[in-house]
């Protein structure tokens, strides 16, 4: 090597080595001798701050006693990243997921079973409302523990009800009545150049406008999409829901609706059409009250259970964010110490309150309701106790089935396909997806046995 080359290598290499050795480090002050538990969570912003406070308290108390340090990390698309990290052999120790991911991941061996661990760590499952533990269960095994649960109800604008001649203390009692109310609450305007446009909408199931739960409607007609083995949309309930959504859109007018949808902005902001009083009724969760107090504090609204097809039925959608331990977690026992702390009623209810969610406990503490930011939180809480309450269909192919249901719903709304035809076609398509998945799963099981 010539002198010039050596000089070049030293000049380029030395700063790199110095930077690596003495360069800036992240702001981590983890006390020595602590076992670090990496906790990946999807919550950001205010929700993350609430969890961070709990994590900090844990680190200062139980964590200090038992030499555990929980490191909270906000991760977008946490489910996908957790899966990739798990496949790469370096998963987080604990993660916060949406409940509908649990069957898909559990069936692919991505999650650790928790039944034995919660017994060992004396987490009392009887203190929780049964539905919240049931949601984290797949194939008779527990994979997810509830963190912040919620139900979805009907928010309605009392002022617009009065203006339309409706009784603001009597929300719709059936889906049929909801359609009638929606028609009375929808107003149009014709411009000088003869263009008709919606200025106020009664209700919409449109996925493009606050309709996050496009698949849900058959449940309010008494149907359930998964019976443990078979997906079922081609049922009387499925057809009734399809016809109902179709009629709803026909009554509004498709071109006008598409224009109206195009003018609505972000859900969390003053452009949210319910907050700006352009939408009279909306299917939403308890967190909505946080946005109302921030962006429309004077809004005169109320909350009621979403109506079912008949007044005798009380179907209610219940869902929860869950804590899971990924397969391959290095410190599952330390995670359980942390989760035992978080799942204490006072701690978890503090988190749920700050997230604007309901309490997962059978008997919420009296101050939970008193100090909750949502004045209608009891409505949401009571819905979780309904015998007709239901969650996401616990099927491992839900992501795929849900995409098919979304297409079906949009095709029905737009009048692209006859509702009955669309339902039958979706049934066939999802049947194929499920059959294919089951065939592959059987093949995998056979392959495992052979090895």
């Amino acid at each position: 090597m010539t002198t010039r080359t050596t000089l070049l290598v030293v000049l380029l290499g030395l700063p790199a080595v110095v930077l690596l050795a003495l360069g800036p480090r992240g702001q981590r002050h983890i006390p020595a001798d602590r076992t670090v538990v990496r906790y990946w969570e999807k919550w950001a912003g205010v929700e993350a701050l609430a969890m961070q406070r709990i994590v900090d308290r844990f680190n200062e108390t139980i964590g200090a006693e038992q030499n555990i340090w929980v490191e909270y990390c906000v991760v977008s698309n946490v489910d996908q990243r957790m899966l990739i990290a798990t496949a790469g052999g370096d998963p987080p120790d604990v993660a916060g997921l949406f409940d509908h991911i649990v069957p898909q991941y559990a069936d692919r061996d991505a999650l650790m079973e928790l039944d034995d661990l919660i017994v060992e760590f004396q987490i009392d499952r009887d203190t929780f409302k049964p539905i919240w533990l049931e949601i984290g269960r797949y194939d008779d095994k527990l994979y997810g523990l509830p963190s912040t649960p919620y139900t979805i109800a009907l928010y309605y604008n009392r002022r617009l009800f009065r203006a339309a001649g409706l009784d603001p203390d009597r929300p719709p009692q059936t889906t049929g009545e909801l359609n009638d109310y929606a028609a009375r609450l929808t107003r149009y305007e014709t411009s000088d150049d003869d263009r008709r446009r919606i200025v106020q909408l009664g209700f919409t199931t449109s996925p493009g406008m606050l309709g996050w739960w496009h698949w849900i409607w058959p449940n309010f007609f008494g149907g359930r999409l998964w019976d443990g083995q078979r997906f079922a949309i081609d049922t009387p309930a499925g057809h009734a829901a399809a016809e109902w959504t179709h009629q709803r859109r026909e009554a509004i007018g498709n071109p006008e609706m598409l224009k109206f949808e195009g003018t609505t902005g972000a859900i969390e902001g003053a452009q949210n059409p319910f907050l700006s009083e352009r939408l009279a009724m909306v299917f939403q969760g308890p967190w909505m009250s946080n946005w109302i107090s921030k962006y429309a504090p004077g809004l005169d609204y109320a909350v009621a259970p979403f109506p079912s097809a008949t007044a005798e039925e009380h179907h209610a959608f219940a869902s929860t964010d869950v804590f899971v331990i990924p397969a391959g977690s290095r410190h599952p026992r330390e995670v359980m110490v942390f989760l035992k702390y978080v799942l204490q009623q006072d701690v978890l209810e503090e988190l749920c309150r700050e997230h604007g969610k309901i309490s997962p406990f059978r008997a919420p503490a009296p101050d939970f309701y008193a100090t909750h930011t949502n004045p209608f939180i009891r409505v949401f809480d009571e819905m979780a106790g309904s015998p007709d309450a239901f969650g996401y269909p616990p099927m491992p192919t839900w992501a795929h089935a849900s995409a098919e249901l979304l297409k079906m719903h949009e095709n029905i709304l737009r009048g692209v396909r006859d509702p009955d035809e669309a339902v039958k076609a979706t049934q066939q398509r999802v049947d194929t997806i499920v059959a294919e998945y089951q065939r592959m799963a059987a093949q995998r099981r056979g392959d495992r046995r052979d090895r």
């Binding site: 898909q104 692919r108 991505a110 224009k259 195009g262 003018t263 995998r444 392959d447």
Partner: protein, 323 residues
């Protein structure tokens, strides 16, 4: 230095490249080819299933839909992008005051993050308040009577209906992002706004055309249009070929813009569900890594075939100086 030690030293010096190539490209590609013949849900071992994934793809209606959508997008975006980029490059090549400013204005959108581009265009294309519709409506209202007259004259013939439909949409201001007819065009429109990079390459190509050719053409009495047609275009043809091939690759990989604009949905009636989006959904939503890998290899083949076709079609129209 012996031949052997020279080889070793050569390999060592080039190690950063070939190690990177092996570890980050060749081996993953080989693995992806293998798992395209497997059922592989990521966390469980891949199970060899032969050509099942490819057979399933052949029966998958969504696959054909996304292939069709991507072809249509490429067929619209590449020619339109080429024409607009070449014309803009020629304009930006004129010696006028503020030339640098104009060039910067054209290039700036290229450095805006795609998510921001998506959000800005969602507002630009807003059916009621969007700037695009504000500009289009008067044009539509001019065109509509003609379309209605045509429809009346043909007694509502079937072929005149789409024309009338488009004219009516234009007069009212299209629901760009909510109608299948307009959604694809909306994306092409946005793509035209992002032409900064090819324009820069065309500008560089224009500098490379000898001025003597223009002078000779001028002496022969060629008009500006003829000079553009007979000097500029042939001179730019290798650059056009390069940009078309890059365009084919880019359009077949379109993902971020439709993903942002339609919030990870497949657009109105699946009109903006593209190949890479379906591949991503299979890999990371449905956890069908084998199926997604099969799609990736078919995508590679499609791009290779299209590139080969472009090369073949261009053999008489691309002029290389000195060749």
């Amino acid at each position: 230095m012996t031949r052997k030690s020279a080889t070793i030293q050569g390999l060592l010096w080039t190690a950063p490249w070939w190690l990177g190539f092996l570890l980050l490209l060749a081996i993953p590609m080989g693995f992806s080819l293998y798992i395209s013949f497997c059922d592989y849900p990521l966390l469980q071992r891949p199970v060899f299933i032969g050509a099942d994934n490819y057979r399933q793809l052949a029966r998958d209606p969504v696959f054909y839909k996304v292939v069709g959508n991507t072809f249509i997008y490429a067929a619209l975006a590449i020619p339109a992008g080429t024409v607009v980029a070449v014309l803009l490059a020629v304009l930006l090549n004129q010696r006028v005051r503020g030339q640098a400013l104009f060039r910067a204005c054209i290039f700036v959108p290229t450095i805006v993050p795609l998510v921001a581009v998506g959000v800005v265009w969602m507002w630009m294309l807003n059916p009621e308040a969007g700037l695009v519709n504000q500009a289009i409506r008067p044009v539509g209202q001019l065109v509509l009577p003609a379309a209605q007259a045509l429809d009346n004259a043909t007694n509502g013939a079937q072929w005149s209906q789409p024309i009338l439909g488009v004219a009516q949409d234009l007069a009212e201001g299209p629901a760009w992002l909510d109608r299948p007819r307009w959604a694809m065009l909306a994306l092409v429109l946005i793509a035209l706004w992002l032409l900064g990079s090819p324009i820069v390459i065309y500008l560089a190509g224009l500098q490379d055309i000898p001025t003597t050719l223009y002078e000779a053409a001028e002496l022969d009495g060629a008009s500006r249009i003829r000079r553009f047609w007979h000097v500029t275009l042939p001179g730019l043809s290798p650059v056009i070929l390069f940009n078309v091939i890059v365009g084919i690759i880019a359009t077949w990989q379109i993902f971020a813009l439709p993903y942002v604009i339609w919030r990870s949905r497949s657009g109105p009636e699946d009109a903006t569900y593209f190949y890479t989006m379906y591949l991503f959904d299979n890999a990371f939503k449905y956890l069908k890594m084998g199926y997604a890998s099969a799609m990736a290899w078919i995508q590679l083949l499609i791009i290779l075939v299209l590139t080969a076709l472009v090369f073949w079609a261009s053999r008489r129209t691309v002029h290389y100086r000195g060749v």
